[in-house]
């Protein structure tokens, strides 16, 4: 069998990974169709992509990338340094609509050395530049095909885009002229099934061969018990947190935030909302990262302590607040449980279910909320705590300084130490309620191999996938 049908929960709005935040675009196209200078591997490491190697100047501000030979776009045109320059310049331009424009903010110049060599100059050293270039938003696109990229994506990957039935599926076929190790599969279909029940049914009925980012953890034991299927449990970069509006009273009082943290029973949430899948966290950091420190004990479930903290803060009878819940089930279910747990210590959280668009408007941009639950899926994103205007509005000058210093530091040991310090600061300040690290849940036919287990970025990399036997 040379083909595979993969279920995904969300359908991409369009197919240009460089001009939308939708993870769904990367889920389909990352590494399969589009490639960047560097790329993520399934274990989260960053390896060479279209750049086979690079030289970094001593001051860390000049990156000279040596491109792979013989790379062609799917439309037959060759990929060279001009395309790289075009892609990077386009992303950082004034009128760019790149959703992660910040990734490119440090670039001061991109110049073509020769057709196979590009030099990128940064305004200041950036320890995570190569990491940044592995993002789906930094893939290399060609000027010739940019006009239609939203409907006909032309990349350099091992698969070519072959068709899209909107609302239903996207089809890819093997790229025979691929520069690297060719794909095992001849073709692949991504089917979009947003409804968890439908996902279960489709999987069970074997309408699809695999489901990446399976939305209903409660069904996994059934798949596990069924010899037809295998269940893939890994980690994501998603810290699921009870985001707290640090500027809105009474959450501007650290005691109150601490009370909230102690009111929460993480294990109950992981069990109740995620049916046991997920790793409890005590700070905003991914547990699989070597720099992670386990701080969960600092905010252990202790309702009595929560109540006394509330009393100390001047709320012996608790208070009322709002809890905005976006659509994913971790938020909706987790929210119900948290509301019940908060109610036990006297905090009455009124649940409002919102859609993403509304969440962005009222919570994220309007900052008009008390509490909300959301999973921050960007890798290594502790830096958001250094942005006082960020929606949870945490403003700590010491932390901000720490982050600035971190950016200028390249020594790995130093960096680890600083990162751990950062984790502790935000845990001590109880900025948000830290719940759990989102698990990467996948289901596949038993004889399908080579799928990513972890999800270092949103991607369904099929280049290494094949059928056993």
């Amino acid at each position: 069998k040379g083909t595979v049908t993969v279920g995904l929960q969300l359908e991409p709005p369009h197919l240009d990974p460089t001009s939308a935040a939708a993870g769904a675009i990367d889920s389909v196209l990352y590494s399969n169709v589009f490639e960047g200078l560097t790329r993520f591997m399934g274990d989260g490491s960053v390896v060479p992509g279209l750049a086979k190697s690079w030289d970094i100047s001593d001051d860390g501000t000049e990156y000279t990338f040596h491109l792979q030979d013989g790379v062609t776009f799917h439309d037959g045109t060759g990929m060279d340094a001009e395309d790289v320059k075009f892609s990077l310049d386009r992303a950082r331009a004034e009128d760019s609509t790149n959703a992660q424009k910040a990734l490119f903010a440090g670039i001061s110049d991109v110049s073509v050395v020769d057709p196979m060599t590009v030099k990128v100059t940064l305004s200041e050293p950036n320890g995570s530049f190569l990491f940044n270039m592995a993002w789906g938003d930094a893939v290399i696109v060609a000027p010739e095909s940019i006009g239609d990229i939203k409907t006909t994506p032309i990349g350099t990957g091992a698969f070519k885009f072959s068709g899209w039935v909107q609302g239903d599926k996207i089809e890819l076929v093997k790229n025979a002229d691929y520069w690297g190790t060719p794909a095992h599969l001849d073709s692949a279909t991504f089917k979009f099934i947003s409804d968890p029940t439908a996902a279960f049914a489709a999987m069970m009925a074997e309408d699809i061969d695999a489901f990446s980012g399976y939305p209903a953890p409660e069904n996994l034991p059934q798949f596990d018990a069924d010899p037809r299927f295998q269940v893939l449990i890994g980690s994501t970069e998603g810290e699921t947190i009870l985001s707290t509006n640090n500027k809105q009273p009474p959450f501007d009082n650290v005691k109150v935030r601490q009370a909230v943290a102690h009111a929460i029973d993480r294990q109950a949430i992981v069990d109740g909302a995620m049916f046991g899948y997920g790793t409890p966290i005590g700070t905003h950091f991914a547990p699989h990262n070597p720099a992670y420190v386990d701080l969960t004990g600092q905010s252990a479930h202790d309702p009595d302590m929560a109540r006394s903290l509330l009393a100390e803060a001047g709320f012996p009878d608790g208070f009322e607040t709002t809890l905005h819940l976006p659509p994913p089930s971790y938020a909706r279910r987790g929210g119900e449980i948290i509301a019940a747990q908060l109610a036990e210590v006297g905090i009455k959280a009124e649940i409002t279910n919102v859609e993403w668009a509304q969440w962005l408007e009222t919570v994220f941009r309007g900052k008009n909320f008390g509490l909300t639950i959301v999973s921050h899926t960007e890798p290594m994103d502790i830096g958001i705590y250094a942005r006082p205007e960020y929606y949870f509005q945490y403003d700590n000058a010491a932390f901000q300084q720490l982050m600035t210093d971190l950016n200028g530091t390249t020594d790995p040991a130093k960096r680890t130490e600083m990162l751990q310090q950062a984790q502790k600061i935000i845990a001590d300040d109880y900025v948000n309620g830290y719940l759990f690290q989102l698990a990467a849940l996948g289901v596949a036919k038993a004889d399908l191999q080579g799928l990513w287990v972890n999800a270092p970025t949103q991607a369904t990399d099929l280049t290494g996938v094949s059928w056993a036997k």
């Binding site: 409804d195 968890p196 279960f200 109950a268 069990d271 109740g272 659509p327 279910r333 449980i337």
Partner: protein, 271 residues
Amino acid sequence: MSRNLVLGAILSSLVVLAAVLSFVWTPFEHTAMNIPAKLQIPNGTHWFGTDHFGRDIFSMIMVGARTSIAVALVAVGIGMSIGIPLGLTAAARRGSWLDELIMRANDLVFAFPSLVIAILITAVFGAGAINAIIAIGIFNIPVFARITRGAALSLWEREFILAARVAGKGAARISAEHILPNVANLLIVQGTIQFSLGILAEAGLSYVGLGAQPPTPSWGRMLADAQTMVSFAPHLALVPGLAIIVTVLGLNLMGDGLRDWLDPKLRVART
């Protein structure tokens, strides 16, 4: 009284009883979670089992009846209190521009895809019971306006109305004194039917997450929550599903029974 009416009344009053009783007593606190005790099948302690948070389903069903009834009742109330006067006015001014305007407006509301509008309304004003009520209620207006007008039009042709006009009574007075009481039966029957449709609509809206918000239990949301667990905990979907079916069935049977009972014309055996 027909079999339908009796059976329908029994089923409906069962549901109403559960709803009323829930104010003073439920076997468990309906919001109380007990996650280790989740997904129990029906047993002696939890008569209908527990849900994925370990809440007692029987208690949730009881309180959910409250939500369903309240939403449907108020929605029908909105439909009636606006629709009936509109229908009476249109009939009283039959053939005039006002009649035309009212009926056209009705057609227009009818032409809107109700579910889409309901979703829009909740998108605009936020999900919640109140907005579900408004969304369902708006689409009840033309139903009652039409049925009132239709019945009233034929009444206006009747001689007893002519007699009232000869007695010098104005249109408003005749509508209130003669027309309304004579269309009341029809409206009661339609009311029960709309009521049952309202319950279904509420369930549908809650099912897509636009109805009453947690922790207020709602049968539709219970169904939605249960969806993915049907294959290993079927009672989660069966119980609220049956609750909806029983209620709607009861109301429809009652509507049918009422129609036969209130309208002796239909009871006469036909050759």
